[in-house]
């Protein structure tokens, strides 16, 4: 009966109840939505690289190495000799190696020289391998494989010819005009920097820089058979390693860091990624703060609306007291009204967020690479909703106390 009275009481003030409910729903929507995005951003960030045990580059800071090798941000301090790469990649503990050569660009997108191993072994997310949206991996010197964003932004498809430039600006002066590359494959979206990268063979980069002198001249120079005996590059920028046994990770890392030939360093991508994310925790906290403030505003608004209603309820209070209701009962009645509004707000906000996510989920994934999963009730979200309920009780304490004192001081 208590619950029935609270519900009926709210229904008798439909207008203000609905407005308050909407404010709370919006706040819950924002709160859960931001939490969802924050968590997914962290997850997809942490899974930018997976399955790679070590990343090796010239001696520099570990974040710097991570940034240029994985995120294509910043510039490498130095290159690694091809010989050093071969020495390490051929050692016993290594299962596979992916060499990376950076330095060229096309329309502002970075070009990465690598090998077939990249498509075979590079994985992201929960050990997901790269998949082709269209076409296939490169086989010839002047083949190129585009990340999904490059293809969609520039409108390229399989068969398009592209000219690469040295340096990173789209208006670079040194364009390797004489050597157009042909798009042979387009990767499916990954939500990682791979989407913004153009992949070519190592020897493609070499050939391009050599001005075409090492390969037959002509627009369709790579029309020759898949070349196996290309001139090996002198140096590469970095490489990724997969180990036969993860047990040897630290061992191999130490060996590389002490590599005699030249100053090298190896980093564990997982560790470096979480270090980098730590630096962005400020951003996370700001997001959380914003959603907390939105919620606070909604809850305080509810408190104000309930408080205003107490004045109109004088006669009701008197009647309830005469019927035998204690002042505490009336206190609880107002709190209950607040709790009903709060729970309905959670339901409404949660459902609309769920609906919104399932509607825009795919679009967000393909555009921002954020995989928004519909599982809203994570333990953290549940904890937050608990906190919301407490905030509601606290904000409703003011009108409830007002009700209590009016109930005690009947005149």
């Amino acid at each position: 009966m208590f619950l029935r009275v609270a519900v009926r009481s709210l229904l008798s003030r439909k207008g203000s109840a609905i407005m308050t409910l909407m404010a709370i729903s919006v706040a819950i929507f924002v709160l859960l939505g931001i939490e969802q995005i924050r968590q997914q951003a962290r997850d997809s960030f942490a899974s930018t690289v997976s399955g790679v045990d070590l990343i090796v580059g010239a001696k520099t800071g570990s974040l710097n190495l991570l940034l240029y090798s994985v995120f294509r941000i910043g510039s490498p301090t130095d290159n690694i000799s091809w010989q050093a790469y071969r020495d390490i990649a051929d050692s016993d503990d290594i299962a596979w190696a992916i060499p990376i050569s950076l330095g060229d660009s096309h329309e502002g997108y970075r070009v990465v020289g690598t090998t077939q191993a990249f498509f075979e072994h590079f994985s992201f997310g929960k050990k997901r391998n790269l998949a082709f949206f269209e076409g296939e991996a490169f086989e010839r010197t002047f083949d190129a494989v585009l990340g999904s964003e490059v293809a969609s932004a520039l409108g390229y498809s399989v068969g398009t010819e592209i000219i690469l430039a040295h340096g990173l600006a789209s208006t670079s002066f040194t364009k390797h005009d004489n050597q157009p590359f042909v798009v042979v494959g387009i990767l499916a979206p990954t939500g990682t920097p791979v989407d913004q990268t153009i992949h070519v063979r190592l020897e493609g980069i070499e050939a391009m820089h050599a001005g075409g002198s090492t390969v037959p001249i002509g627009a369709f120079a790579p029309a020759n058979a898949p070349d196996t005996d290309f001139s090996e590059p002198d140096s590469i920028t970095a490489f990724m390693l997969g180990l036969k046994s993860r047990m040897s990770t630290f061992n191999v890392q130490r060996q590389i860091n002490q590599f005699a030939g030249e100053p090298l360093m190896a980093i564990l991508p997982g560790v470096a990624l979480s270090e980098l994310w730590q630096m962005m925790s400020m951003f996370e906290n700001v997001l959380r703060l914003i959603s907390a403030l939105v919620l606070l505003a909604a809850v305080l608004g509810m408190g104000a609306v309930l408080l205003a209603s107490i004045r109109e309820r004088r006669q009701e209070i008197h009647l309830l007291r005469m019927m035998g209701a204690s002042p505490f009962y009336l206190f609880c009645l107002v709190e209950m009204e607040a709790v009903i509004l709060c729970l309905l707000g959670m339901l409404l906000g949660g459902v609309s967020l769920y609906a919104a996510l399932s509607m825009v989920g795919d679009a967000v994934f393909s555009r921002f690479g954020l995989y928004l999963d519909a599982a809203l009730l994570t333990p953290e979200a549940a904890l937050m909703l608990g906190a919301v309920l407490l905030a509601t009780l606290a904000a409703a304490a003011a009108p409830s106390l007002k009700m209590y004192t009016s109930a005690r001081n009947i005149t």
Partner: protein, 223 residues
Amino acid sequence: MAVQLTGVQFSYENDSQRQLLDIEQWGVERGERVLIHGPSGAGKTTLLNIMSGLLACTRGNVSVLDQRLDQMSGKQRDQFRANNIGCVFQRFNLIPYLNAIDNIGLARTFSAGGSVQWRDEASALLSTLRIEQSDWVKPTSNLSMGQQQRVAIARALINSPLLLIADEPTSSLDSENRDNFLSLLMELIGSRDMTLIFVSHDMALAEHFTRLEALSDIARRPC
């Protein structure tokens, strides 16, 4: 005794200089039907509030149905009122957003008899009070004043109180509804052996009561 007041004084905490009520000795026997009349603002409602335990007197003994209200805590008085005292006012006798049945059920939840089968009793009361069944589940704000006051009787009697306190319950009614209301009220009270304390300025009602009291005779007010 249904009510026994001895040396009762009352003033509001924030205005303790002004005695609103000062009663030396006054009592009501069980089964009496007392009509209290007096000018408005004379403290009739305050007197009723003290007898119902809604207000605690500043000084003196208040004994209702042989229980000392002045020695009870606020919570005990609330419980006592829910169990033993029915109240009907001039208006606003029903929670407007609940229907008749829910109003009666709500009154029931406050009494010690709590959740026992009350629906049958409520139906019987509403039938006796000639409220049509279709009106039982309408929001009470849709009922006429006469209907509302009759539902109020049902609400006041659902916990089978021994004392009924009525504060000008007929003042908002036309003469036909007033007579209707009074005859039904007296019929129910008679069949239940209840004590009735009824406040009104309408002396024409006197024939229904066993005793007539002027507030000025009950209380002396040092003004």
